[in-house]
Each structure stands twice: as structure tokens, then as C-alpha cells.
Symmetry: C3
Amino acid sequence: MLLLPGILLFGILVGTHLPAGMAQAAPKAKQRVVIQVSDADPGKWQLALNNARNVQSDLGKDNVEIEIVAYGPGLDMLKAESKVAAGLAAALDSSVGLLACENTMQNRHVSRDEIYAGVRFVPAGVTHIMKRQAEGWAYIRP
Amino acid sequence: MLLLPGILLFGILVGTHLPAGMAQAAPKAKQRVVIQVSDADPGKWQLALNNARNVQSDLGKDNVEIEIVAYGPGLDMLKAESKVAAGLAAALDSSVGLLACENTMQNRHVSRDEIYAGVRFVPAGVTHIMKRQAEGWAYIRP
Amino acid sequence: MLLLPGILLFGILVGTHLPAGMAQAAPKAKQRVVIQVSDADPGKWQLALNNARNVQSDLGKDNVEIEIVAYGPGLDMLKAESKVAAGLAAALDSSVGLLACENTMQNRHVSRDEIYAGVRFVPAGVTHIMKRQAEGWAYIRP
């Protein structure tokens, strides 16, 4: 007799608290995506920037958090003299996070001074992307 | 005294209903994968089609749901005059979903008439892939 | 009256058993990443090996499990006469799993003898990567 209300209550708890705590499919949670750039190809850099912009216009800028992580041969995208420098400025203006891999910078003898202003740094690009996936971010590799 | 059956009941509820609602690790749930094509490279288009076919033969066609999403420079894969048109026909015959990005179509002035018959449309390829990942689909970028 | 302790108990159950069963965000769990190689590009092969090494040095070799899966045009990475053979040896020494796709081997008429010693085999590379993602592994496509 006392079990029936327990089941109902259980249903309510599951229906409200659990999904919220497990994020991914929660309807109102901010969506998040990490975009990887690891090619030395300005066409791919531009595509990554276009992807970010399209996601923002499709979902609404305030409903989505976006990071572009550049590492390996992709690091050049985020240099001060990058061929997509205008696009970097626009991305930063739109609150898209731009992240350079310090492992790559060390291997390629690139100093922070040579990186586009406003770009942030992560110790290892790949590890950062792994962390984001574990946190439930989507992963896009254009 | 009444708590003990409650715990048992809870275990049954968790054991059956919850995993079904959260998919990923459920042993008998249909597996699902979204395959991204964003390169203007017919070799990659063919590889995406091969990947879909191999997944179907490995898991059994009825046990897996597959979508191939083409966007950016990858859109050409899904045009009526595509170099892999025969492969598109076979994929559609095997219930592989083929999805073209309307954002890209707009940017490249490609109309629906120019797209291979049977291909479906999504407003934004990247956003669709994000949605699928949030729903628990695997993501493959050949 | 009997429902209240039931709710508390429910909270305990949810707080301990459920998250453990759903892995991803568990703080102390070993991190795991599957790295895909599907390009016929030795630069990408080297990048995949570098990625694995950087992840190990960043997280600590014992805290992370890494697999590199080669399929399609990427299979050549794992051949005995691979251009990155020295890197394969180092990866195996560091307990990085190297996995060759048997589907690809069959299509390209490559026998096990032609594959670098220590490399393991999976029936289908893509299906293996899907499985790893379903198990909560991060996915990196360099």
C-alpha cells in the first residue's frame, strides 16, 4: 500500500533531478562543443571558424559554449600573422574560446608573443579535448 | 520493514527503465553512429560509404542506425552528379540516412534540385552532429 | 511517514551506485582515449603517435589507457615496413594499444605477417571505435 506512492515519488525524482545531474540530454542546458584544428590547412581553419559561427546562429549565441583547440600542424591558425586573423578577431568578439596547445608551442619553438592576442593556452590540446568530452561536450573535427 | 521491498523495487526500476532512457551502455539498444563528411575528397566520400557498409555487416543491418552528414566542402558528395552516386544509391537502399547541410547549400548557392534524390536536409550539419552526440550516438570522422 | 526515509535512501543509492555505473565523469577513473588513423599520410601517423605520447606525459602513463586504431588508407601505418616503425616500437613499449582493422586487411589483401609485430587485430576498425565511445572513451581524430 505504501509502495505505490513510493513508485510515483520515485518517478518524479527520476523525472526531475536525475536528468539535470547527467546533463547531456537536458533540454535547457547550455550546449557545448569543442572544435579541433590539427591541420596546416587554412581552408580547414576557415571551416572551423564557419562551424563556430553557424552553431551560434543556429542555436543562439547565448545557448552554446564553443572552444576551438589548435594543436600540432594546426597551431599556425592561432599565430599573430595567421591567414585567418580577421576570423579570429570575429570569433573572440563572439565569445568563441580560442585555445593554443603549449606542448606544440614548445616543440615548434613558438612563444606566447607570436600567438594572436586573446588566444588562451592549454598545456596539451589533446588532453583538453579529452577532458571536454568527459564533461559532455560534443566534439567536432572539421 | 516496508523499506526493504522498496529497495528491491527501486533496483528493478533502475535496472530496467533508467538504462533504456540513457542508452549508451545498454546491452540490447540499437547502436547508432553519425559519420561526418566535410572534405572535398571523393576518396573520403567512398571511405564514409565503406564505413557505413562495414558497420552494417559487422553489427547486423537491423541493429544499427547510421547517418552520413555532409557539410562545407563535403557537400559535393551528395550532389546529383556526385562521383560516388552509385554508392549513394546503395546506401539509401540499405537505410543509411544521407543528410545535406542547408547552411552550406545556401552559402554555395546549391538548390535542393541539385542534390541526389533521397538525400534529406538539416538546417546546420554541425548542429545536427552535436545533437546526435548529445543523444548518445557515436561520432566517426573518416 | 515511511516515505521520508525512502527518499533519503533513494538519494544515497543514486549518489553512489548510479554515477559509478555511468562512468564518464567519475573523478578517479582511469582516462581512456581511442585515436583514429584513416589517412594514408605519414604526417598524420606521426601526429597520432605524438598525441599518444603527450597524453601519457600530461596525465601520467598509469592514469590513461590509449588505443590507436588504423583502418582504410590508414592501415599502412601499422605495416611491418611502416615509415613510423620506430614510433610503433616506442608506443608498444609504453603500453599504447595498436589495432589494425581486419576488414581493411581483407579488402587490401594484407596478411597478418605483413603487419608490425605487437599490433593487435579488430574485426572492424569503425565498429571498435563505436564500441569504445559507447564505453565512455574519448575519441580523437588527429
